[in-house]
Amino acid sequence: MRFLYLVLTALTLGILAGHFLEPNFGNAYEVMLYVLIFLIGVDLGLNFESGEIKKLGREALTLPMKTLAGSLFGGLAASLVLGINPKWGLAIGAGCGWYSLTGPLIAQYSAVYGAVGFLGNLFREIFTILLYPIASKRTDPKKAVSMGGATTMDTTLPIIRKFGGREVALVAFVHGFILTALVPFVVPLMLSL
């Protein structure tokens, strides 16, 4: 729990610094992400047993489909609450947390909904970082992976590894990998409705 407070503090300090100081850190975010992914790879290389792949089972393949369907459903519900065209809600939901792709794709059709697509999916990533540690304790840590959507193969993988363990990290990677392959097709499909 103490680490979660540190995460919250780091996030708050970052937001304040970004908002008021606008420091130019270049691609420091990406560099740290690659360092983390490398360290996760080292952990896998040190401890991975091939039998673990078999243990992942069918759920590792069906979970991404449930995540995508639930995300589309959530996007549709949000659009109905806000009274906007369901097409935008479905497209934003189809992003599954991949804000850097969803925002620009939707912005080709509408700048406002592009901004909502960007921010909404960015918030999803931030909420996953903040809430996965709690969700993994109170529910099945494998099923809780679905909250991260497509981000579970990269940006939210370290927090999932830390709080869910190595076996859940494997599920998360497969989950994120499948969704990352699907999202670039599903978002334009929803926009074409």
């Binding site: 908002h19 420091p23 992914i37 360290l39 996007g75 809600g89």
Partner: protein, 78 residues
């Protein structure tokens, strides 16, 4: 950069260390770099100047509803 490059490099490095019989505790470096990454994510978020309350509120609503939808269909709580 493709995400697979550092991942595969790490797996190879870890495998080589295992074969060489060397252990490496990754918890501390993972925690430190995770905090740094979250800080830089915050900086990126803070740099986005939201032009209206509606934009902010609707983005929050989408984030909450899409997470809830995914968790619901994944069967969390069942």
């Amino acid at each position: 950069m493709n995400i697979f490059i550092p991942l595969i490099a790490g797996i190879v490095a870890g495998y080589v260390m295992r074969k060489a019989g060397r252990r490496f505790k990754i918890d501390l470096p993972v925690s430190a770099s995770l905090l740094a990454m979250v800080f830089f994510l915050g900086v990126k978020t803070g740099e986005v100047h939201v032009s209206g309350l509606w934009l902010f509120g609707s983005s929050l609503l989408f984030a909450i509803f899409t997470i809830a939808g995914s968790l619901l269909l994944a069967g969390v709580g069942r």
